[in-house]
């Protein structure tokens, strides 16, 4: 039984994420944690854009907010998003890590420490190496790891970095990721 899905992505991941959120059943039984880089000047409007087609609510959480199943939590622009024991979000304005804030590595690492083998970690298209270390942590702590097929990625740096660092469980294209998530039952 899984307790959460965490997805990291950067350049080229927006459409993939939109399709995934659109295809989830409205009764999706897990929380979906999203850590996506965005362009510096596109700070607002992102959550709205993701919400339009999503079948579950997408929110930018507040600090110390309780994580609930069936909702997507998007790391707010310019904050790191951590997952804490007690199933809570914690935000931080600490320095960017590898030029990124939010840092996918930090979100993934803290989620892995909280959910351990009950976490599904997914890395999508992106133009830097953020997320590779975080996905390794998910794997090391017993979680299930998926990487978007680099052949399908608009920018393959991020997925290739992740694959280089970790023997992941599945390399899937978007359709396969969707099919996998749709199979998750409460």
């Amino acid at each position: 039984m899984f307790k959460a899905v965490i997805i990291g992505g950067s350049a080229g991941s927006f459409q993939v994420i939109t399709r995934i959120l659109h295809s989830l059943p409205p009764t999706f039984p897990l929380p979906v944690l999203l850590c996506l880089h965005r362009l510096k000047h596109v700070r607002s409007g992102f959550v709205e854009a993701l919400s339009i087609k999503s079948s579950i609510p997408v929110i930018e959480p507040n600090d110390k907010e309780q994580i609930r199943p069936g909702k997507a939590y998007l790391a707010p622009a310019n904050y790191h998003m951590y997952i804490e024991l007690g199933n809570k979000i914690a935000l931080s304005t600490e320095d960017p890590v590898n030029h990124s804030r939010p840092s996918i590595d930090l979100s993934f690492t803290t989620a892995a420490q909280v959910y351990r083998e009950k976490l599904i970690g997914i890395i999508l298209s992106g133009a830097n190496r953020d997320g590779a270390y975080g996905l390794k942590k998910v794997k090391d702590l017993g979680g299930l790891t998926i990487v978007q097929d680099p052949e399908e990625c608009q920018v393959r740096t991020m997925t290739e970095a992740a694959l280089k660092l970790t023997p992941v469980d599945f390399v899937y294209n978007t359709n396969e990721i969707i099919k996998f998530l749709q199979k998750i039952k409460p």
Binding site: P61, N62, P76, N78, A90, L91, S92, T93, E94
Partner: protein
């Protein structure tokens, strides 16, 4: 090496013994991460760090400075400044004085942003600005009012959005030259605030955990943005009590974009967009 719960308690207790800093009610996850980072940066194990802290007062101050987070920028989160401009500051238009406290001001960008906005609204003369932080190094930087230019091009973007755009009609553009408030030197890579701004605020060292209100004043507006995310629930409530009791009736508290009042103090304020108004 991973910092354990016991390590953290050992560190906090040592700090309490060798200084007046009490970090026992900081959010332990973020404190752990910061401590981890310090151990890595100094290449020390916990025992050596603690020994150094017992031997060297200056080292303790250094550690405390590195534990705290100092991120800030000019007009950070422009929507918040639009709210200040259109709905918060106009409430004080007819006041004789406006007292503003920037709690956790870091290197001062928020204080300068406020003064620039107040000046554009012709309210700077009657404003008194109090700015505090735990870290004296960042206060020194705040007093100087000199920032890097190349790293901070977003400052100018934010300035344009907040100061040059009419908040009621984003199509309307008012040309306010940067030189009215700061000088840009691309060779030296600096943004330097004008003297009439740097000499206005009162900057003081202050610890929200222990120091209460150090000014003989109450406040119309308190800004405390992205500070309480590092505090636990119990300390957050103490800080809300401090702010509430030192605000004038109808005074406003402005927290960070993603900070909210949870718990008992929520009932003592009304919401005005992102801000909290004392009932």
């Amino acid at each position: 090496m991973q910092v354990s719960d016991q390590d953290l308690i050992y560190f906090i207790n040592t700090l309490k013994n060798v200084s007046k800093y009490d970090f026992s009610e900081y959010s332990d996850k973020s404190l752990k991460r910061r401590l981890q980072k310090i151990l890595e940066d100094y290449n020390l194990d916990l025992t050596s760090l603690i020994t150094n802290m017992r031997l060297d007062k200056a080292f303790v101050e250094k550690v405390v400075k590195e534990i705290t987070v100092n991120t800030t920028e000019l007009f950070r989160d422009p929507p918040v400044w639009h709210l200040l401009r259109s709905r918060i500051l106009p409430r004080f238009k007819n006041n004789k004085t406006i007292n503003i406290w920037h709690a956790g001001c870091s290197t001062g960008q928020e204080v300068y942003s406020m003064m620039i906005l107040l000046n554009e609204m012709e309210m700077l003369d009657k404003a008194k600005l109090f700015a505090t932080d735990l870290n004296v190094d960042v206060l020194d930087a705040a007093k100087q009012g000199i920032y890097k230019y190349r790293f901070n091009l977003s400052y100018l973007d934010n300035f344009d959005k907040v100061i040059k755009q009419n908040p009621l009609n984003f199509e309307e553009y008012i040309d306010v030259p940067y030189e009215k408030y700061f000088d840009i030197d691309k060779v030296k890579d600096t943004i330097t605030m004008k003297k009439f701004l740097t000499e206005k605020p009162i900057f003081r060292k202050h610890d929200l955990v222990t120091d209460g209100n150090i000014f003989f004043a109450k406040f119309d507006l308190i800004l405390c943005r992205n500070v309480i995310i590092y505090f636990n629930y119990s300390l957050q409530n103490k800080v809300f009590e401090l702010f509430h009791s030192n605000l004038y009736p109808k005074g406003l508290l402005l927290l960070g974009m993603h900070e909210t009042i949870l718990g008992p103090w929520a009932n003592k304020f009304e919401r005005l967009g992102q801000a909290y108004v004392k009932k």
